[in-house]
């Protein structure tokens, strides 16, 4: 007998209802259910999610502690580095980029490359604008342009 076109779907798409309340393991619901076959794309365990969350909390406290000390210009790089680490572990573990295909990783990085282009090219214009004074100063007319050591804030 020829296989019914929906035969396969009937097997794959079989409804798997939740077990009745009294058969479920007691507790908070974080534990793995042994009777459910994990799907192959599952690469991060619940324990790992807890660990990642714990690290995010540590980093949150760390960024606050770092802000309690006045370290001059060093404060900003420290705060941004901590934020960057937070982003990395969210992207790698919560967003599964660590287990994603090369193509998806490439797309994820591409957004930041474009962002870097925006920053580097535009800031190099803005920051360098005041390096050479292009104003015509009536007193200094005829003299070479003024170079200032630092941009005029």
């Amino acid at each position: 007998m020829a296989q019914h076109p929906h035969e396969r779907d009937h097997i794959d798409v079989e409804r798997r209802p939740d077990p009745p309340e009294h058969l479920r393991p007691a507790g908070h619901g974080f534990e793995m259910h042994a009777e459910v076959t994990p799907t192959p794309h599952h690469t991060v365990s619940v324990a790992m999610y807890w660990k990642v969350f714990g690290w995010l909390m540590v980093l949150l406290v760390l960024t606050l502690v770092a802000a309690m000390f006045d370290l001059g210009w060093v404060n900003v790089p420290i705060a941004l580095t901590i934020a960057g680490v937070k982003m990395f572990i969210v992207v790698l573990y919560f967003m599964h980029l660590k287990y994603s295909s090369f193509l998806i990783r490439g797309v994820a990085v591409a957004g930041f490359i474009w962002l870097a282009i925006l920053f580097v090219f535009t800031l190099s214009d803005y920051l360098a604008r005041d390096w050479v004074s292009t104003r015509v100063d009536p007193i200094r007319q005829g003299q070479p342009p003024q170079f200032s050591p630092l941009p005029d804030r």
Binding site: H6, P17, M57, V90
Partner: protein
């Protein structure tokens, strides 16, 4: 053999199954869905990137005013909201995990906790914005703070800055947190809708990919806040033991 009245032979990958007919298998479909979402997220990074750039430029130009403006932010509210969003990222990750394991109730539960966190975030933000409104630090609508505090305006002018530079800080502050809040509202609407779908069993039987895609969006909104928090709240430092809490 059951009688299936609406099953022509060419409809082997039926519209009611999780696998759309243009894909070979679920893995390929999952990769394609994720790729599309990551492309969207890349455009989001670029959109917010424009605001981050504006922030960087003006902060460099108006350093003193940005420090003053940031000093007006309440770090406690910012910290609370950062905690809330990080926790919501955690619960949404657990929802994605539960959906992958075909656990209908757990999926709905973790999405619901995410919803509560998200609402909590917006409530805290609402308190902050109301405070800014009341003291007159909302550019264009309620900008009278320096009229009532001329000494602070003078102090800024003495630093070579001025209230008009602080205005720029708050323009950027409201643009960034406002666009972020719009993303939160969109995310919350989706999470609410997905709770209903999850309860109906929509994400069972290998059809859990929408939850994963929603999770990606939520994490991105979280990541944007991860950067907004230090840039907006911590410029002027964190002084829990006196001196803090703004002016």
């Amino acid at each position: 053999v059951s009688v299936d009245t609406h099953a022509p032979a060419h409809d082997a990958h039926g519209h009611h199954g999780p696998l759309q007919h243009q894909f070979d298998d679920l893995d390929q479909q999952r990769d394609a869905n994720n790729l599309g979402m990551w492309l969207f997220l890349a455009t989001e990074v670029m959109m917010f990137g424009g605001l981050f750039f504006a922030y960087s430029l003006y902060r460099w130009k108006f350093a003193a005013a940005f420090e003053w403006g940031s000093g007006h932010m309440d770090v406690r509210f910012g910290t609370l909201n950062t905690f809330i969003l990080l926790a919501s990222s955690f619960t949404v990750a657990l929802a994605v995990h539960a959906a992958g394991e075909q656990r209908r109730r757990a999926t709905a539960k973790f999405l619901f906790i995410t919803l509560l966190f998200g609402i909590g975030f917006l409530v805290v933000k609402g308190f902050e914005w109301t405070h800014d409104w009341n003291i007159g630090l909302v550019p264009g609508l309620q900008w009278h703070y320096f009229d009532q505090h001329p000494a602070e305006a003078q102090a800024l002018l003495d630093l070579g800055s001025g209230p008009h530079h602080v205005l720029m800080f708050f323009v950027i502050y409201f643009s960034m947190t406002g666009l972020h809040a719009i993303h939160m509202i969109v995310g919350l609407a989706l999470v609410g809708y997905f709770i209903l779908l999850a309860n109906k069993g929509q994400f069972l039987n290998g059809n859990d990919q929408p939850v994963e895609i929603l999770g990606l969006y939520w994490h991105l909104v979280d990541i944007i806040w991860i950067f907004l928090f230090p840039l907006l709240y911590l410029i002027a430092g964190f002084h829990p033991f006196g001196g803090g809490g703004g002016h």
